[in-house]
Symmetry: C2
Subunit: 158 residues, 2 copies
DNA sequence: TTTGTTATGTAATAATATAACGCCCGTCAA
DNA sequence: TTGACGGGCGTTATATTATTACATAACAAA
């Protein structure tokens, strides 16, 4: 049934700029008058280092050098980071990914490869059309989830 | 923090045409050479009767007059119904809803009211643009999830 | 310092979903 | 008829994902 592809390396490349992004995040929180605590920073670091979508319990497991964090610690941090626009929740994977946009928009679309697990953040095309379509019935949109599943170029070529 | 709205009646109107839709579903399965078993039919009936998004465990709880069904029974049926295009999974709610389209398309968009819980199925605007945006990087889309959260007209007016 | 607010620690549990295995039942070929 | 096969279901157990509730600690403002 499913695609036979060997590219399931969830060892996605580690972006070398993690320290810079952590510093940016601290600045962003300071500007917003929010506190970038150690639990939040550690959580953000783990999401960044994953280099792609990561599950909450993988963050929980990696949180401490020896032994896991407690779930509420990490879920609270993930919620905070999402509110700050530093990460996005991917609904169809029950996973989280670092925001790839410079302006940390709260709404983004994703291309999700069913083969290798990688995600690509894209601008949602025609947000105005979606809002217009909704508005025609009096519906006021506050957040759009758009996730396209399929195969990335590398995985299609096998 | 959240919207103060009293319209949380998850007792959405019961569509009176449930029997007709069950019969249509049986015909559709027969045409496709698939078996519409009693577990599948009962599951579909409960999703139809919900009149809106329903959780898997609510189906499980209501499955038998006395006592719940076992989870695998219902999850299997939900998967089947989804494959047949009779229902849709709503990722951001972890819920299921009957397909509202006559042709049982497998891809649909949803407007989801955060206040009253109702959903409206819409055609995803500009699917071609999404596929083009993806295709520009060689990504081949197989399924699109599009869910807009917000407030429906009735709930906005309070 | 007192006070109010926000964040964290901790234990327990809720909610969502799947794995694994055996049985039943229908189909179909021999 | 009968046996082999395959799909669907029953059952138990367990995996995965997420939250509640309440106590404590850290911080900021008065």
């Amino acid at each position: 049934m499913s695609h036979a592809c060997a590219h399931h390396d969830h060892d996605h490349h580690r972006p070398a700029d993690t320290p810079a992004r952590l510093a940016e995040a601290e600045a962003l929180c300071a500007d917003a008058g929010e506190r970038m605590t150690s639990a939040r920073l550690r959580t953000y670091e783990l999401v960044l280092d994953a280099g792609g979508p990561i599950k909450a319990y993988d963050v929980i497991d990696r949180f401490h050098p020896d032994g896991a964090a407690k779930p509420p610690t990490v879920y609270r941090a993930l919620s905070f980071l999402e509110q700050m626009g530093l990460i996005h929740r991917i609904e169809s994977l029950n996973a989280f990914v670092a925001c790839g946009a410079h302006d940390h928009k709260h709404t983004a679309g994703f291309l999700l490869c069913d083969c290798c697990g990688r995600s690509v953040e894209i601008a949602i095309p025609n947000v105005a059309d979606i809002e217009a379509s909704a508005g025609a019935t009096g519906f006021k949109v506050s957040h759009i989830t758009m996730e396209a599943r399929g195969l990335c170029q590398a995985c299609s070529q096998e």
